[in-house]
Symmetry: C2
Subunit: 284 residues, 2 copies
């Protein structure tokens, strides 16, 4: 099956939606959009680097989409649509590719951002297959940015942290609904989703003069997780945010606070003074 | 330089624009959008497969963007923004990557669709570097689709065709302005940009019961081009469209007409009866 036939096979099973004015198969897709502000982001999933090739293919596709939708949640957004590409070594099994796309398609539709276009290209044998997912969203109220922790804020996290690679990284649901509930009930100063590791991602919330202080004992640990590994495990896809207001208890747990920082100090420390702002996935 | 540092270096030189509400560096970008309809598409450029690695890096970046913007033109759209990712073997020269991104950034800005986000990932040594560009656009009037040639239409093409690999494929300007002028002056039934080859791309304009008949003698050949190679060269990035109305002469040339087709007949033939609907880039 060549690139085009494979793409046609994948898209012929796509669900139609009223918001998809032009779907896959044309030069570009056209999406009816419920806003005049476009939230957009893109992420690459390399098989054998970011995820094992032995994982069930539907779960690979699901994860490719889920990690992008987690970014939408972290911005305070709602998914509207997605594009998905594959770059595949010439000896890739077509049935495997189709299953990856099916997993992606089902997840994207379930979460309200159907896949409306894409591209498939061949690379040389022995290179790693990769999938790139672009997602679009709307922002019902205000987009919530990074780098905006305020002195006196409390630091909160949704769900549980650590040991995500046991299974959570394949089964998590992006915290889109939780983010919307939070935004409706409290004012959030800054937010991110934890993908690289609690330590490193927390450092992106600090501003030029604020430092996050994390109390390790307060972190809600996932089964099998340990401190301090929970600081660096990553792939939690939970929301980390700061606020002066108290969020609903069933959504988030307080794990620290924000204080003044001078330029020489780390962006994230534990209550014991350890610098954890570098802990997590190494972007080499 | 690691993935993140490279990305930061690339984006710190990005021009700010009023329409970019949140630029690179957050979970996602936020774009002020002049429409409630989103035109979106994505394309992958693999170095050493789709383009030679010996090409000047700025021109590689320019082309990665230009071919996507050519799709916007073919839909009757106006660029609004772009995302660009790179998947790079671990031994890639950072200076080369930065130059590719600079070429892409300059082109994207010039054509009105600045790069507002992206991702960089490392792949194994000896794999081919690749760049993925996602583009967004608006549609001022109606989006023009494929597969909609009407019996009695004349087939038109902008510019010149053939021998594009001599230099045109690196220097072309996407036909965005020409498409808008065409839409303002005539009614276009169907349109595509010629990337894979005149023969193959023309076949996408045919509908279930229409056939395009191309008069080879009428094709405006680029210097050094020959017929029939012009049918399959591809990379012209000219607009191919059909209409019952006459477009401005300085924009397009008539090269054929549309007639009734039965299921057994090819989608595109020459006036001499040759089937040219398969000629062009093989999507293997």
């Amino acid at each position: 099956m060549n690139e085009r036939a494979l793409l046609e096979h994948i898209y012929q099973t796509s669900t139609q939606s009223d918001s998809v004015l032009i779907g896959p198969g044309d030069d570009m897709a056209l999406l009816q959009f419920d806003s005049d502000k476009l939230l957009c982001g893109v992420d690459q999933l390399i098989i054998g680097r970011h995820i094992s090739k032995d994982i069930q293919p539907e779960l690979i596709g699901r994860k490719a989409v889920a990690r992008c939708f987690s970014d939408i949640a972290a911005m305070g957004g709602i998914p509207a649509g997605s594009l998905m590409t594959a770059a595949l070594p010439s000896d890739t099994d077509n049935a495997w590719v189709i299953r990856v796309f099916q997993g992606a398609r089902d997840a994207a539709e379930e979460w309200g951002g159907p896949i409306i276009g894409g591209d498939i290209a061949s690379t040389q044998e022995a290179s790693k297959p990769m999938f790139t997912v672009t997602t679009f969203g709307t922002v019902p109220s205000t987009a919530i940015q990074r780098n905006n922790a305020q002195i006196g804020d409390v630091v909160y996290v949704t769900g549980e942290i650590g040991n995500s690679l046991a299974s959570h990284h394949l089964s998590f649901t992006p915290r889109i609904a939780e983010a919307q509930k939070l935004i409706e009930s409290i004012e959030i100063n800054t937010m991110i989703d934890i993908s690289d590791g609690l330590g490193q991602d927390a450092s992106h919330l600090a501003s030029t003069n604020t430092q996050l202080v994390i109390d390790a004992a307060m972190i809600p640990l996932r089964e099998g997780a340990t401190i301090p590994k929970a600081f660096s495990d990553g792939e939690d896809y939970e929301l980390l945010f700061t606020s002066t207001m108290k969020p609903p208890e069933d959504i988030a747990t307080a794990i620290g606070f924000v204080q003044r920082r001078t330029n020489e100090e780390p962006k994230v420390v534990t209550t014991k003074g350890e610098d954890i702002s570098m802990l997590g996935w190494a972007h080499e």
